[in-house]
Every structure is written in structure tokens, then in C-alpha cells.
């Protein structure tokens, strides 16, 4: 398509043939011109149709035609250069390569002017693009912030939900525990009552023991008195004994004397003969009486001695009994003391139990309250869970909206 067509200009040779030569030369020149014109026409017609590739080749020398050829070629070169450059610069700008300007060097006149316009338009596009990028960046940042907020909301919702769940579990378990505590406190109540009853029994038993102890003490006192009385009696007995002894002694002496008298009487009676027989009998009677008296006094003496030693023995025994009774008395007294202490302790227990019972009742009440609170919490938690769910949903919607917004701005 682009074939180099040479334009040959020959030198003329002879004088005679000069005219012919000149004519030939002129004809050749004309033919050459015609050739040139056809070639030039072709190039220009191609150029008119937008094909800027054709040039006039093979032009040498400095004839007008050569200069014309060069001028034509140069025009096409400039036009070609401008077309390529402006196209490339605008294409680059469309791809945001704003640094690619049209090179102004070598472009003259209108070409340069147009090139300058294109370059300043590119600059403006660059500024606008930067502003748009900045605004996009801001938008992205905003979207980022919103997305973060949405994320925070979502995660806050998740946290709330998790907390609510654990709260619910806690409330449920508290309710369970409250139930079991309520049951336990009922049991405790029963136990307390049982203990209270036992304590009362204990008190009663203690009272009984006390009564018995007092009784024992009374008995002991009585025994002590009895011992003292017995001692006194023994003392009197000894005194009586002594008296009896002295009486017996007197009787004995009297019996002795009687005996003597009887003896004397007998003797006298014997002397008296018959007259004295009656007297001798009486004297014999008196004698035997005296003897009986003497033996009676003997047996009284031994009886009295026996009684005396029995009295002494019983006196010793009584002393022993007295000691024992006194010992018992001590024991009774210490039992009473112990009972007293035990009573105090029992009262303490009683009071403590009552306190425990009261406390248990309080606990029960509190537990009931706790149960109610737990149930309320559970209910509140359900509400919270719902709210968390709504919040989560909102967060998701927000995120999705942001994504859409980002997409839209990216596409533009």
C-alpha cells in the first residue's frame, strides 16, 4: 500500500539536441510532475479519509516540488503527531494517568494551542479526580466508621445477648437454688422445732432432777437432824445408863446388905430356936430375894452394859451415817449447782434455737424474695434478649447498607 515512488529529475545533455532535449526534458518533467501530483493526490486523499500513514518518498534536491513534498510530509507528520498524542493523552487521562501530557515541543500554532487545551483539561480532570478520590476516601472512612459502629453494635448486642443468657441461667439456677434452699429451710424449721421440743423436754427433765435433788437435800437435812436427834438420844441413853448403873449399884448394895441381914437373921433365928423358925423362913426368903435381886441386878447390869455397848455401837454407826449423809448432801448441792448451770445452758440453747428459728424464717422470707427476684430477672432477661436480637438485626442491616453504599461508590 505504501510504495516508495521515486521522482527522477535528469540533467539535459547536448546543444542541438538541446531543444529536443529541452522538450524531452520538459515532457519528462511534466510526466514527473503528473506522477508526483498523482502520488500527492493519493496521499492527500488518504489523509482526508483519516489515513495519515502515506508520505511522499524519494524527493531529492531542492526544487519546488521537493520543498512541496517535504511541506506535505511535514504537515502530515504534525497532524499525525497531534492525533496520536492527543488520543494517547486523553486515553491516559481516562485511565487516571494524569501525568501523561501532550508534548508541546514540535507542535506549532493551532496544534500547540489545542495541545495546551488538552493538557489543561487533563490538569482539571486530575484535580477533580483527586477531589473525587478524597471524597471517596472520606466516604469510605465514614463507611468504615459506620461499619465499625455497626460492628460494635453487633458485638455489643452479642455481648448483651451472652450476658443475658448467662444472667438467665444464673437466675434460673438461683430460682432452683432458692427452691432447694426453701425446702432446706423448711427442713431446718422442722429440725429447729424438734430441737426446741427436745430442749423443752430437757428443761422438764432438768426441773424434775432439780426437784429430786431438792428433795434429796431435804431428806439429807432431815437425816442430819435425825442423826443429831439420835445422837441426843444416845446421849440421853448414856445418861440413863449411868443413872441405871448407879441405881443398880445401890440396889446391889442393898441386896448385899439384905443378904447380910438375912444371914444375920438366919443365924439369930437358929439361936432363937423354935420361936425363930418362922423368922428363919422369912430370913431365908429375904436371902433368896436378895440373891434374886443380886442376880437380877447382875443381869440388869449386863443388859445395861449390852445396851450401852449397843448404844455406843449405834452411836458410832450413826456418826458414820451422819458422815455419809453429809456426803450425800454435798453431792446433792453440787447436783443442784450443775442443774442450775445446765438450766442456764438449756435456756441459752433454747434462745439460740429460737434465734435460729427466727433467722431461718427470715432466710425463708428472703429466699422467697430472692425467688421472686430471680423470676423477675428471668423475665427481664427475656426482654433483654429480645432487645439484643433486635439490636443485632439493626447492626446487620446497617452493615449491609454500608456495603451497598461502598459498592455503589466503587462502581462510579
Amino acid at each position: 500500500m505504501s510504495s516508495p515512488s521515486a521522482l527522477i529529475v535528469d540533467n539535459a545533455h547536448g546543444p542541438e539536441e538541446a531543444a529536443v532535449d529541452e522538450q524531452n526534458a520538459l515532457r519528462a518533467e511534466l510526466a514527473g510532475h503528473r506522477q508526483w501530483m498523482q502520488r500527492a493526490l493519493y496521499v492527500l486523499e488518504q489523509a482526508a479519509q483519516g489515513n495519515l500513514e502515506e508520505r511522499l518518498l524519494g524527493c531529492e534536491g531542492d526544487s519546488d516540488l521537493v520543498r512541496l513534498s517535504h511541506a506535505l510530509n511535514q504537515t502530515l507528520d504534525l497532524t499525525d503527531a497531534f492525533v496520536r498524542e492527543s488520543g494517547a493523552a486523553l486515553d491516559a487521562a481516562a485511565h487516571k494517568k494524569f501525568y501523561r501530557k501532550v508534548l508541546l515541543r514540535g507542535l506549532l500554532g493551532s496544534f500547540r494551542h489545542a495541545a495546551t487545551l488538552i493538557n489543561s483539561a487533563t490538569d482539571k480532570m486530575s484535580v477533580q479526580s483527586a477531589a473525587l478520590a478524597a471524597s471517596e476516601a472520606e466516604q469510605k472512612q465514614l463507611a468504615g466508621i459506620v461499619a465499625e459502629v455497626a460492628s460494635s453494635v453487633a458485638s455489643a448486642a452479642a455481648t448483651v445477648e451472652a450476658t443475658a443468657q448467662s444472667l438467665k441461667q444464673s437466675a434460673d439456677s438461683t430460682a432452683d437454688q432458692a427452691s432447694s434452699v426453701a425446702t432446706a429451710s423448711e427442713v431446718t424449721s422442722e429440725i429447729v422445732q424438734t430441737v426446741a421440743a427436745a430442749t423443752e423436754e430437757l428443761s422438764a427433765t432438768a426441773a424434775e432432777i432439780e426437784r429430786l435433788a431438792r428433795r434429796s437435800a431435804q431428806i439429807a437435812e432431815g437425816a442430819v437432824l435425825g442423826v443429831e436427834r439420835t445422837n441426843a438420844t444416845v446421849g440421853e441413853l448414856a445418861t440413863a445408863q449411868t443413872k441405871i448403873g448407879s441405881v443398880v449399884k445401890t440396889i446391889s448394895e442393898v441386896a448385899g446388905q439384905t443378904n447380910l441381914l438375912a444371914l444375920n437373921a438366919t443365924i439369930e433365928a437358929a439361936r432363937a430356936g423354935q420361936a425363930g423358925k418362922g423368922f428363919a423362913v422369912v430370913a431365908a426368903e429375904v436371902k433368896s430375894l436378895a440373891q434374886q435381886t443380886a442376880s437380877a441386878t447382875e443381869s440388869i447390869h449386863s443388859e445395861v452394859s449390852a445396851v450401852q455397848s449397843a448404844a455406843v455401837a449405834s452411836g458410832t454407826a450413826i456418826v458414820e451415817i451422819g458422815k455419809t449423809i453429809r456426803g450425800m448432801d454435798e453431792v446433792s448441792k453440787s447436783i443442784l449447782l450443775a442443774i442450775d448451770e445446765q438450766r442456764v445452758a438449756t435456756r441459752q440453747i433454747g434462745e439460740n434455737i429460737q434465734q435460729a428459728a427466727t433467722a431461718t424464717r427470715d432466710v425463708s422470707r428472703n429466699i422467697m424474695g430472692l425467688n421472686t427476684a430471680a423470676q423477675q430477672t428471668s423475665g427481664a432477661v427475656d426482654g433483654l434478649l429480645r432487645a439484643a436480637g433486635e439490636l443485632s438485626g439493626l447492626g446487620e442491616t446497617l452493615k449491609a447498607s454500608v456495603q451497598q453504599l461502598l459498592q455503589k461508590s466503587r462502581v462510579s
Binding site: 505504501s2 516508495p4 500513514e53 508520505r55 518518498l57 524519494g58 524527493c59 531529492e60 517535504h70 510530509n73 511535514q74 507528520d77 504534525l78 499525525d80 503527531a81 496520536r84 498524542e85 494517547a88 494517568k97 501525568y99 501523561r100 501530557k101 508534548l103 515541543r105 514540535g106 506549532l108
Partner: protein, 174 residues
């Protein structure tokens, strides 16, 4: 593949900042058009260059990886900007800021390539020289050309990454 290039003379050529060196090639990189500025600066006639591969102006001090990047980019139907050190016919050299684009037919197939080269600022040249020197040194470490190119390409990419720039942006920022 390469023409026998002249030895670099070390002489720098230049052109006017309002001039553009224009060349076109076919899909294989053979020159189908070169404007008078090219012919003047590179020191060739039109006849000498038409049909020749473009790399006749390749300077030995240019790291290969830049050309690899160039061809990879334009074969992928994209444009590329690059600072290029070129070799004139007689060995002189000249710096350009090149803009190479593929040429498409109506069906968007590549039918050729187009290059506009402009005069770079001294500052840009001063900035790009050490980068190319570094890449060239890397390449000189390897005897195998493929390895050399791989290594310097890697180094270029690393340098770009360190600056946080794509190549295009880097070329414009230099």
C-alpha cells in the same frame, strides 16, 4: 541482524527544540519513512535508510533492556516514551526523547510503528545518564546476551519499584 555500526566519535549532535524527528517502520521494524530532520541529524539519505532496520541508529552505550521494554510495549499495542541515545552514520551521537506508537488498520491490527523524537532538556539527559550507565554495567557482567538482558531488566524494575513509579510515569518525571 545489526548493520556494521560506526565507532562512536564522542561528538554530540543536536537539533532544534521545535523540530521533530519522524520515522515510520513496518511491523518488522524496517524503515518505511524518515523525515528530513532524521536524515539530517542521523546523517543518511532517504535511499540509504528506506527498508533498513531501525536499529542502525542503535548506540552501543544504550542498555539493551530499554529496547526490550520498548518492543514489548509497542507489540502489546501500547505507546512508550523513552530517552534514547542514537548513533549517527559517522559515529556521532545524539539524545532524543522518543515517543513510539503502533499504527493500526481499521481492524486494529498492527501494521507498523511510528516514532516522534524530540530534543530532551539537559536536565533530563543528566538524570537519565546514570540510570543507563548502571543498567549497562549490569549487562556487561554477563557474556550471554539473554542473561544480560534479564539481569538489567530486573535491575530496572527494581529501580522503578524503589521510586514507586511505573515506567511511563518515570519517563515523564525524569
Amino acid at each position: 541482524m545489526h548493520a556494521i555500526a560506526a565507532t562512536p566519535t564522542g561528538v554530540e549532535r543536536t537539533f532544534h527544540e521545535d523540530e521533530i524527528i519522524v520515522t515510520k517502520t513496518d511491523v518488522k521494524g524496517r524503515i518505511t519513512y524518515a523525515n528530513p530532520v532524521f536524515l539530517r541529524v542521523a546523517g543518511y539519505t532517504e535511499k540509504e535508510v528506506l527498508g533498513r532496520p531501525h536499529n542502525i541508529i542503535r548506540h552501543p552505550d544504550m542498555p539493551r533492556c530499554v529496547f526490550k521494554l520498548l518492543w514489548d510495549t509497542i507489540e502489546a499495542k501500547r505507546e512508550i516514551f523513552a530517552y534514547v541515545l542514537n548513533l549517527a552514520k559517522n559515529g556521532d551521537h545524539y539524545w532524543v526523547f522518543a515517543h513510539v506508537t503502533p499504527t493500526f488498520d481499521a481492524q486494529r491490527n498492527i501494521v507498523g510503528y511510528h516514532s516522534n523524537r524530540r530534543l530532551p532538556t539537559p536536565e533530563s539527559v543528566a538524570a537519565i545518564k546514570p540510570v543507563y550507565r548502571m543498567l549497562l554495567e549490569e549487562e556487561s557482567r554477563y557474556s550471554n546476551k539473554q542473561d544480560a538482558m534479564k539481569a538489567s531488566t530486573a535491575l530496572l524494575l527494581k529501580t522503578l519499584a524503589a521510586k514507586g513509579l511505573e515506567y511511563d510515569e518515570f519517563a515523564f518525571a525524569v
